[in-house]
Amino acid sequence: MRWIWIDKLLVFRSGEFARAIKNLTLAEEHLHDHFPGYPVMPASLIIEGLAQTGGILVGEAGGFTEKVVLAKIPRAEFFGVACAGDQLIYEVTLKDLRSEGAVVEAKAFLNGELLADVEIVFAHLDNSRANQIFGPKNFVFTQQLLGVLDLAKARERAREAATSAEPDPESNGLPHQPASSA
């Protein structure tokens, strides 16, 4: 299993905001156990997807020089469930960023309705100590996870090359698609 809980970035405004998609399918093993006959996306994995979206937002704001780790979830509220076949939209806003870490507001939407409202605190691992334990390699931002951002950038470049129109200022370099697009 690849530990990537978002499928695509739709919007990426550096240091501000990111919107991502997570499609739920019965190809995901865990949905067969959670629960047999009633495939519900576990709330913890929705939080993980929100944290990955937020982690990329926080990491990119610092040029990916920091090891950004999920430190704390002060608040998480869920208002429903998402099942196989559903498409979740994750929206993450960077509220605060400082040298020790960051805090984001993260929301998940299903069919335009708020499904989850979560606050996430990230910490920047102390570089000197983290390097002693984990080595200099940035284990948080693996190429697998960053591939999501790379793909979004590549799509944006292709879109810009294909059209001479001015880019949508809302997208800040990345394509903006309506939440309903599949």
Binding site: A71, K72, R75, K95, D96, R98, E100, V103, V121, A123
Partner: protein, 128 residues
Amino acid sequence: MPTNEEIYAKVQTTLVDALGVDEDEVTRAATLQGDLGAESIDFLDIVFRLERNFGIKIPRGELFPENLMADPEWVSDGKLTAKGLAELKSRLPFADLSKFEADPDLERIGDLYTVDMLVHYVQSKLAA
């Protein structure tokens, strides 16, 4: 400039949100770690919330200093030396060290972090 009581009320809200404790637990004398169960990662959350709620800037290490006891001259037999105490005073001018000075046991440093200490800290920042 808000009154001491207004600052206390806002600090209470801050700690209720950050630590998930009840408001009546957040007395002025309550210690962050011992009484309210704060862990090290909560300090970062508290710093974020104090900055937002009071519109202040808290430089890294000012409220929760790092490597406080790094110098071997500051500690002897698990207690702070006179030099160590002087260092602590200069780093935490908003803390009440009167009781701690009588028995400057390293393990009691956490008890300096009370709700009232946060109120004093915020008050000093707002007055600056």
